[in-house]
């Protein structure tokens, strides 16, 4: 059973027994197969060698686990051992703060303190260890969990408790500029693969005790750390309860990316549209939290999910809120228009040139007809071929090694664009259209654009069989579907449907900050007002007046 635990390092000591064996998976341990879960119920013994033996048995054939046995500086009878994973735990911390402290520096404090074997554990804990973070556990499972998470476990002979030293320090990527969500104005940093770094990035934006970050472990095999962040007092408590419930339902062997969780917690798993948002920008997550959303962070991925996700967020970008309102609103409208183009342009084109030629102005019809004169294929085949070619190029563009990128783009642009037209296989208008459609689909949120790009194809088929009537049918179907969708209880099309007049300030336009005094109604209903009234700047009273 996955559990929420408050601080990351506090491993629910003492709760091991009461929590063990709840889930079906955990209740079927095989012989000699120590899964990390059922170990919670096994207590440590007082004998160091017994403990080490057990741990070695559990971690057998794990070549990266290091065992280091040594004696206490003043008293050879006090046997000690540290266990850690090579590469996960910081070696300098181990040698400086644990081994050096116990083997060399211990005599410095010994004069004032009477040292006995019975008191060794408390003394080591209180006086000697100089690590920043220290916990203890009495269960074998706790030890294993700690070791595998990168902490160093110190076993003291004669005591049934083990000390867990916070020594996590593995090689990780530095915080870098975001690669996929780029802004001109605004913070550049992006999340990294280490969960702790990610939570610190959020904490750095919101210095408030109400920012809560709850931890849990998911994945029976991977035991991946998952954090749920929200701002108490802004977020709707029911949302948090719902998110927790859905997360706790998850019972899978592995969580390697937020996507695993996304598919397991979304409201409508069969919909082509995403109902969970993900981003790699801390400022975006902070803004989402401040609107009353919850964020789900997963260790090992720079992508953070936020819920609930409204469709309109596909058009909202951090920069909208950093640039001035007028400019941002114009950009919003461009994105909205681009969204329509990327969904409908090819199908409307096909519908018009194969069914509704009368809709075109005469001169346009003549020049389009002239282009099509040499093309041997029906318009729909041509458009399908070009769209698929574009998708292939796009897919290749993402996968291909950087060194061959240029070659592919040259071949793609030349062959598909220029040569196809010259060879008379494709009309120039179609190439323009497909290029425009492709580029337009990159103007709004990437995950929504994946769905929209996909939906473009069935609509094109409708356009080719039923004309504009088919296009309208397709659009209506999509609209009806969108309006049935919900993301964690929030209608997907909010604030457009259901209509929220106040919410319109952040839909097609982005109102100035002094006008957006309230959070989105259905998201931040717990605490709507976010700024004082009357913030609109006014020029100072005329100076010359006396």
């Amino acid at each position: 059973m996955a559990r929420f635990v408050k601080p990351l390092r506090a491993r629910q000591f003492g709760r091991g027994q009461s929590n063990a064996g709840h889930s079906g998976v955990e209740e079927q341990p095989k012989e000699n197969d120590y899964s990390s879960q059922d170990l919670q119920s096994l207590d440590l013994s007082a004998d160091l060698q017994t403990n080490l033996g057990q741990i070695k048995a559990i971690l057998s054939e794990c070549s990266d686990v290091i065992y280091r046995e040594f004696d206490f500086a003043q008293d050879d009878r006090i046997k000690l051992a540290i266990i850690y994973v090579d590469g996960l735990a910081s070696k300098s911390q181990n040698s400086d703060q644990i081994m050096r402290a116990l083997m060399l520096d211990a005599p410095l404090v010994e004069e004032r303190v009477e040292f006995t074997r019975e008191r060794a554990f408390t003394l080591i804990k209180k006086k000697l260890l100089t690590v920043h973070q220290l916990d203890e556990t009495n269960s074998l499972g706790g030890v294993i969990d700690a070791v595998l998470s990168g902490d160093t476990v110190l076993l003291v002979d004669g005591h049934t408790f083990a000390l867990i030293n916070g020594t996590r320090g593995w090689e990780g990527r530095k915080v870098e500029e975001s690669q996929t969500e780029i802004v001109v104005r605004g913070p550049r940093e992006a999340f990294v693969e280490t969960l702790r770094v990610n939570t610190s990035l959020i904490r750095r934006k919101i210095h408030n005790p109400n920012l809560k970050i709850e931890m849990m472990k998911l994945g029976q095999v991977t035991r991946t750390e998952v954090a749920l962040a929200y701002i108490k007092g802004i977020v709707n408590d029911k949302l948090i309860a719902e998110v927790k419930e859905r997360l706790e339902r998850i019972n899978v062997d592995s969580i390697l990316e937020t996507g695993y969780i996304e598919e397991l917690i979304e409201d409508n798993p069969r919909s082509p549209f995403p109902t969970v948002f993900h981003t790699e920008r801390p400022d975006k997550v902070a803004a989402q939290l401040l609107e009353g959303r919850a964020a789900i962070l997963v260790d090992g991925t720079p992508y953070v999910m936020t819920v609930p996700f409204l469709f309109i967020e596909s058009l909202q970008f951090p920069e909208d809120y950093y640039e001035r309102s007028l400019v941002s609103s114009a950009a919003r409208l461009v994105r909205l228009f681009a969204l329509l183009i990327s969904l409908l342009a090819p199908s409307v084109y096909v519908a018009i040139i194969t069914f509704h030629q009368e809709m075109l102005p005469t001169s346009l019809l003549l020049s389009l007809a002239a282009q099509r004169e040499a093309v041997p294929l029906p318009a729909i085949v041509e458009v399908y071929a070009m769209e698929i070619a574009f998708e292939i190029l796009r897919e290749a563009g993402i996968r291909l090694p950087r060194q061959v990128g240029q070659a592919v783009s040259i071949v793609g642009a030349l062959i598909i664009g220029e040569a196809a037209v010259r060879a008379g296989l494709v009309a120039p208008g179609t190439v323009i259209l497909v290029a425009l459609t492709g580029i337009a689909s990159f103007t709004y949120s990437y995950s929504s654009s994946l769905s929209i790009r996909l939906l473009r194809f069935p609509i094109m088929a409708l356009a080719a069989t039923l004309g504009l009537y088919g296009v309208i049918c397709g659009v209506l179907t999509i609209l009806v579907h969108l309006s049935t969708l919900r993301s964690f209880g929030t209608p997907y099309l909010f604030p457009v449907a259901p209509l929220s007049p106040g919410g319109q300030k952040d839909v097609a336009i982005r109102a100035p900050w002094w006008a957006m005094s309230r959070r989105p109604r259905l998201v931040g209903m717990n605490n709507l007002r976010r700024e004082a009234a009357g913030l609109k700047p006014k020029p100072p009273p005329t100076r010359g007046k006396q």
Partner: protein, 396 residues
């Protein structure tokens, strides 16, 4: 519940089929009709002439050799009805005859004199031809009009379409034309089109000698008695006609100077309005025509008067009003005297004001109209003087 679902599914499927969009046609399978001409042929037959776009000639720039290839194909045939000819023509044309982009519909003079109603039905009944195509009557044969080329546009049909849209004279679209045919309060009129000299083409293309060009021009208005062509109005009379109909009032009015004989002034019309007020006392019908017009002075041959002086300007305005009334009278006299036909829709104005009396008069309306007195009140204003107030080329 299951029945309801089945019904719903059925409805949805039926709706899909009822869309009626099954007429898929690739663009390269279309023979796009740009202009159509209707002439009468011997033996009561009709001759239909089509100007088709040769689409491959419309390739824009580049290697396509655009503009060098002939851009139209004019083909005609005769038959009993227009649909009959169309069917015969489709044996010669390898593609679907596509009417939706027909810009002009030209009736030959002879066909028009014989009664035009015989030919219009196809164009209003068939789905494809638009009711916005321009209707005109050719001086001579419609076929000759369609066989011309154009200097600026790709095809003569588009050329004529643009000319009609500029509304220098009277232009009418098919929908309005058949409404006129159906109405009793006025007689139909249509644009008159004929072949004229259109200057020369010189420069690189013509290499050695400039080539003289024959082309079409809109030269006036064709006047119908019911559906039969009876005569023409020239361009001057057509301007008068436009004043009386209160239609498009743009263009230039040129009138003589009051103080300097032999010198003329031209005013560009900005705004104009015509109101026709009928009056009926049980015996005679009178019409009061109020014309209000505003314009800018764009040319002045006279040297001593200035549009900036109020009394001098008033004189100009009066002269301008007299000119407008004169032109309107010209058209009116021709309609009342020579043709005895109400081509100004005065009957409609009368019907609106005296609906009961109209019932008695409508059958002999043209007669009543011809005997009616018409009084003009023209109120004209010159609002701006262009870039100059006084003439600068005159020594002080």
């Amino acid at each position: 519940m299951r029945n309801k679902l089945a019904c719903l599914a059925l409805l949805v499927m039926i709706a899909g089929v009822l869309g009626g969009c099954w007429s898929r046609k690739e663009m390269s399978e279309l023979a796009i009709v740009l202009g159509a001409g209707v002439d009468s042929a011997p033996g009561g037959q009709v001759r239909l002439t089509l100007q088709l776009a040769r689409t491959s000639a419309f390739m824009a720039g580049g290697d396509g050799g655009g503009g060098k290839e002939p851009s139209t194909w004019v083909i005609s045939d005769t038959g009993e009805t227009i649909a009959d000819v169309q069917r015969k023509l489709s044996a010669k044309i390898s593609r679907h005859i596509y009417w939706a982009h027909d810009v002009i519909l030209v009736f030959g003079e002879e066909a028009a004199r014989g009664g035009i109603r015989k030919y219009t039905n196809f164009f209003s009944r068939e789905l494809q031809p638009r009711e916005t195509m321009w209707v005109m009557v050719a001086r001579g044969e419609a076929k000759d009009i369609l066989e011309t080329g154009s200097e600026l546009e790709r095809t003569s049909a588009q050329d004529i379409g643009f000319l009609a849209r500029a509304r220098t004279g009277f232009s009418v679209i098919f929908k309005d034309f058949i409404i006129m045919l159906a109405s009793k309060g006025g007689n139909p009129i249509a644009t008159m089109v004929e072949i004229v000299d259109r200057g020369v083409i010189s420069g690189d293309i013509a290499k050695d000698k400039p080539t003289k060009r024959k082309g079409v021009a809109l030269t006036g208005t064709a006047v119908f008695d019911d559906d039969k062509l009876v005569g023409w109005l020239n361009m001057t009379e057509t301007r008068g006609l436009l004043w009386l109909k209160g239609e498009v009032l743009k263009g230039v009015i040129t009138f003589p100077s009051l103080t300097e004989p032999g010198r003329e002034l031209s005013v560009n019309i900005i705004r104009g309005q015509t109101e026709v007020e009928p009056q009926y006392d049980g015996e005679s019908v009178r019409f009061y025509v109020n014309i209000e017009v505003e314009g800018d002075l764009i040319e002045q041959q006279s040297v001593h008067e200035s549009v900036l002086e109020e009394h001098e300007r008033n004189g100009m305005e009066k002269e301008m009003a007299r000119e407008i009334e004169g032109k309107a009278r010209l058209a009116l006299d021709k309609a009342q005297g020579e043709y005895g036909l109400d081509i100004f829709d005065f009957g409609e104005a009368f019907r609106r004001k005296y609906p009961r009396e109209w019932e008695k008069l409508k059958d002999r309306w043209n007669e009543v109209f011809s005997g009616a007195g018409v009084e003009f009140a023209v109120d004209s204003h010159i609002r701006r003087s262009g870039l100059q107030g006084r003439r600068t080329s005159v020594p002080e």
